[in-house]
Symmetry: C2
Amino acid sequence: MRIVLDAIGGDLAPKEPVAGAVTAARELGVEVVLVGPADVLRRELAQHNAMGLSLPIVDAPELIEMDEHAVQAVRRKKQSSVAVGLRMVRDGEADAFVSAGHSGATMAGAVFILGRITGIDRPALVTVFPALKGTIIVADVGANTDSKPEYLLQWARMASLYAQLVLGVDRPRVALLANGEEDTKGDKLVQDAHALLKTSGLYFVGNAEPKDALVGDVADVVIADGFVGNLFLKGAEAVAKFAVKKVQRELSGSRVALRAIGGLVPTALLVATSKDKPRTLLAGLLGGTAVLAAVLAPAAVKLAKSLDYRAYGGVPLLGVNGITVIAHGKSDAAAITSAIRRAKESVDRGLVAAIAAEQAVV
Amino acid sequence: MRIVLDAIGGDLAPKEPVAGAVTAARELGVEVVLVGPADVLRRELAQHNAMGLSLPIVDAPELIEMDEHAVQAVRRKKQSSVAVGLRMVRDGEADAFVSAGHSGATMAGAVFILGRITGIDRPALVTVFPALKGTIIVADVGANTDSKPEYLLQWARMASLYAQLVLGVDRPRVALLANGEEDTKGDKLVQDAHALLKTSGLYFVGNAEPKDALVGDVADVVIADGFVGNLFLKGAEAVAKFAVKKVQRELSGSRVALRAIGGLVPTALLVATSKDKPRTLLAGLLGGTAVLAAVLAPAAVKLAKSLDYRAYGGVPLLGVNGITVIAHGKSDAAAITSAIRRAKESVDRGLVAAIAAEQAVV
């Protein structure tokens, strides 16, 4: 399998993308084509031991800046990494494209160069979200605003296929993200999509509230307009960080108390041989507090990370004629490797063909 | 001041509303009119020592069920607590109405009986949300879906006045809830409202992402369509609970370890007089761990509560000709007292007159 990586895309390019590509080539056994300014990429790749790995470089000298207009950038800069990489997928020279660069340009480029799958009006970004119990898929998480009910139905079909093929969920339960379970909740879009989904043949379970989506025992697939879905994920991430800060504050409070009492913790080791039992007991008390604080601080950080949906290896854009995975702009090497893994999964399971086949019969 | 309380509204009525009313009458020095079936309320009130407090009962024998159609219920059941209470406000017999009952019926009743303030197309639910730094006001949190840009502008004006008069913020910063700071983010509604707010004369600071709203250092007032605002708050609440469960899981892990090691913690007190120093130290260690666990578990619960916007004393419906505060259906006595306090504040500061005066000049 050959996956094209935009090696010059993202805040940490080319260093992190190239490092992530090396790991992906080694661990996933795929060929990773690095696309970007060839001289820059050659220098970067030389920093790694890539012996025996397949990491060809394809030159794409033009750069798309983050503040450029997405559609114009990808149309004008035909030698940009996004344009070059997507053309390789279109022309059958590669199986998937992964980028942590300008996400708008990648989405516009994917529609423009790969084209939409027949029957799909608007491609959608589909993310895999870690719920308390298992995993849910959320679509759309930012490709489309002001959606029509038909789009939501199309995304529900694509996301269901994704859950079946990539996550192995036999008969995915589909829900609409709403502010209440009742049919009358949501805005007009949700209500109209509700009616469409009811007769869709999908396993539609109705509306899911944010808490249902987070717990994950109501639905496997949660559908929303891209503005709403994006806001939901950003909100979840923000609250998680907020919660972590609160916990850390409590912990640092405990630590300040420890420091104020002074060097009693190390003293504990010294007094262990003394005859002063109350001091020994106090030292142990403080030590125990420090131990739990040390255990909980990383747990809090882990929690925040588990709610950072961007850490989950990039977000596939479904509905175009080719696998396209969008990674977060701040992706480090590990995130890039995850994004390549995500792309590989979708290629392995024949996601594009499956979507096209389903659209042909509905 | 005389505040009418729907004493039969809410899941825990009449017990909790009546208890909350007694506390409010005692602590806030207001007269609380209990409206609902007089015999039921008399029996309930007799359970309390209400000596010297002003807690008259006004009979409203008809009940609105939770599954009734809001508009129909309030129009047909003229002797329901909602209809009787709101008429008292309309007729100048009371200063405000508070209910934990059918929120749709209360909102419909407020518009139908009190009427909208001239210039306000749609009244909005306005909540006070505890951010990391200070407090923010979010409107609308559920009264309106499929809003027009003009509504958002009207809510921004009302919420700014609320921040000024009730929270004492000199010149409230107003933001639109969106999925990015750039002007181009958000859906069409956000973009159109953006243009209106820019020339509104309000202190408009642009878009605020969920993280900005939660930290609270970007804006004092955050405006959104009611579906989006409601989803945002429900999402924040859900993630907070999710985070708390994760923290509690870590803590219960520590506790299990403690239990497994056995009764060493109480033993610590016994061994304090023994000569066995290592055991004393271990006992102290375990004790310290237990202490921190005991400190953090309630802190986690407190965190979840701080993100439960319904605990913040009810949500005023702004834009109608009279103070109406909607409390959560599960409100306990303390929540009812808070809701009455919120109503009192709004009456004290002349909120309705201020909104009407501002609408008359814009």
